[in-house]
């Protein structure tokens, strides 16, 4: 009998929906599917996890999991894994999950695969390389459980109408594991639809030349309506826009109806976060930019002159 676990990210705003995506996949892989939820809100999230396919939810509402970084969660998971011996443990890639999975790997001596885009079995997963142009199947060997960090939006969440048995996690966390602590939380207010939910995503890169030109993309988003503005890592690193804008490997994965890449060259880093878009428009001065290979419509030219004309065109069509 195979057992597959999904580790849910519990955040201050509830359980991350990425856990539901993983549960949909887990149901096709294991005879037994369980979820682990650690942090305030975990017990409250258990019915939803059950509704998406978890027959057991190991849950703890202890604030220690939210107030620290990964170490207590890895400790608790280690204990759970030792007691129940799952074959495969799935995480949805996030900063929190990387910390937990990386530490759990060291404790268990089990292999950990990052950036999976599909799970082929309890001991095989798939990843994409070279900007998503090549698929690589990887056999996971060595001691169980195998640990896999999966890219968000790799699977589609599907409710089953099931219910989960909630098993409280009562691990005692040694004090020395809580020394790295969150002492303040700061949220940067965002306007309009979230990047992950918007019908259209407009993302800017170095080709915009100056941070002030990002306002052009805001104007375009406003003209379209259901649109959000994103960015490449290069400009986030350069401090032009906050991290919350970043689309790509280290940032968000988006799958909008239309993705408009403005002055973005199309580095692998960026492409893996947006190649799932239904339609891709690229605007770039460099005709050899790799982004054009992905584009349904590519426009070779200067974004700074083209975008204002596009805004005019959209406004004209609207009126």
């Amino acid at each position: 009998m195979t057992s597959v676990w999904v580790v849910a990210d519990v955040t201050p705003s509830g359980v991350s929906p990425s856990a539901f995506e993983l549960l949909a996949k887990a149901r096709t892989l294991g005879d037994e599917v369980a979820a682990v939820a650690l942090g305030p809100g975990a017990t409250e999230a258990a019915p939803a996890l059950g509704d998406h396919g978890a027959s057991t939810v190991y849950a703890s509402d202890d604030a220690v999991y939210a107030d620290t970084l990964g170490r207590p969660a890895a400790h608790a998971l280690h204990e759970l894994v030792a007691g129940h011996a799952p074959d495969l443990v799935l995480f949805s890639t996030s900063y929190e999950a990387r910390d937990v999975a990386g530490r759990l790997q060291a404790k268990l001596g089990c292999t950990l695969m990052s950036n999976a885009s599909d799970i082929l079995g309890v001991d095989e997963a798939q990843t994409q390389v070279f900007g998503g142009t090549r698929l690589v199947d990887v056999a996971l060997e060595g001691p169980t459980p195998r640990l896999v960090l999966v890219r968000p939006k790799s699977f589609v969440a599907e409710p089953t109408g099931g219910t989960a048995e909630v098993v409280p996690v009562e691990t005692t966390i040694p004090d020395e594991l809580t020394s790295a602590r969150r002492v303040e939380r700061h949220e940067e207010a965002a306007q309009g639809p979230r990047l992950e939910d918007a019908k259209v995503v407009i993302a800017g890169g170095r080709g915009l030349q100056d941070p002030s030109n990002f306002s052009l993309l805001d104007d375009l988003a406003a003209a379209i309506g259901d649109a959000a503005v994103g960015a490449s890592r290069a400009v986030v690193d350069a401090g032009w826009v906050p991290y919350a804008y970043q689309v790509g490997q280290t940032g968000k994965t988006v799958k909008p109806e239309v993705y408009i890449a403005v002055g973005i060259s199309g580095a692998t880093q960026h492409v893996v976060g947006m190649k799932g878009a239904k339609r891709i428009v690229a605007i770039n001065k460099d005709p050899d930019a790799p982004i054009f290979r992905l584009a349904d419509l590519g426009v070779v030219g200067d974004a700074l002159t083209l975008v204002p004309k596009l805004i005019e065109e959209i406004r004209a069509r609207r009126s």
């Binding site: 890639t93 996971l140 960090l149 939380r185 940067e188 259209v200």
Partner: protein
């Protein structure tokens, strides 16, 4: 303050990567460089020792040629380097890499271990925190700003919606994002000085690690082309470009 920085030699990020018949990234005969993500960590380390005193030691695993990454860090101002190189490490996975780096770090005493968030070639993103676990260190990851005050680490940790302030007593490990500090360009003086800085080269045997402990537990079974979308059209930015984009948006019912 003694700071160690984990650095990696990666194929030239601007180049086109290729895969060999063994399904491993071709690293031989390919131009390489210090991973740009690691430059941020080196810079953060240099700024901390400039403010608080101390030394920066670069620690790396990779083939002989990878010493170029350490030399680059030397030219920026790092003081010493340790390179673990061994034929048995070819194709090493994340756990093997972490074991090697932890063993190399364990030979000296460091107040702080820094690393980039993830490498530019593999994007695994878990090696530093696995190293921290193996060394029994607390970690503060994804720092967009980093400082040491009264013997404790204080970082601004990137989050989805903003940032968290995280504090942690030393010794500790931290990873820094590209927002932490713009890496300096090596000066001519720095490049000249780099040549005489101590670079220690170690084998697995020197670290007391058996080949079995670094055997990869991930094996590529097949590589195939991803399904390709039909090629789109590429046009010059003429008068009709805005209309064409608007039409596409209309087809998608976005306007």
């Amino acid at each position: 303050m003694q700071i160690a920085v984990l650095v990696k030699y990666v194929p030239e990020p601007q180049g086109t990567p290729t895969m060999g018949p063994d399904h491993l990234l071709v690293r031989e005969g390919v131009e390489g460089a210090l991973d740009p993500g690691d430059e941020f960590a080196v810079e953060a380390a240099l700024r901390l020792v400039e403010a608080h005193g101390g030394e920066v030691t670069l620690v790396s695993m990779g083939p002989e040629v990878a010493s170029a990454a350490i030399r680059k860090g030397f030219s920026m101002g790092a003081n010493a380097g340790v390179q673990v190189t061994d034929p048995a490490l070819r194709g090493a996975d994340a756990l093997a890499t972490a074991r090697v780096l932890a063993a190399a770090l364990g030979r000296a005493s460091f107040d702080l271990v820094l690393g980039g968030v993830e490498s530019t070639d593999g994007y695994t993103g878990t090696v530093p925190v696995t190293v921290a676990e193996l060394l029994g260190l607390p970690s503060a990851t994804f720092a967009r700003a980093i400082d040491v005050q009264d013997g404790a680490l204080r970082i601004e940790r990137q989050t989805e919606a903003g940032y968290d302030v995280v504090t942690c007593p030393l010794p500790a490990l931290a990873t820094v994002t590209g927002s932490a500090a713009e890496p300096r360009y090596p000066t001519l003086k720095g490049i000249m000085a780099a040549k005489s800085k101590p670079l220690e080269q170690l084998s697995l045997a020197d670290l007391g690690i058996a080949t079995d402990d670094v055997a990869p537990a991930q094996r590529v079974t097949s590589v195939s082309d991803a399904p390709q979308k039909a090629a789109g059209s590429v046009i010059q930015a003429g008068d009709d470009a805005p209309a064409k984009i608007a039409e596409l948006l209309a087809e998608a019912k976005a306007i």
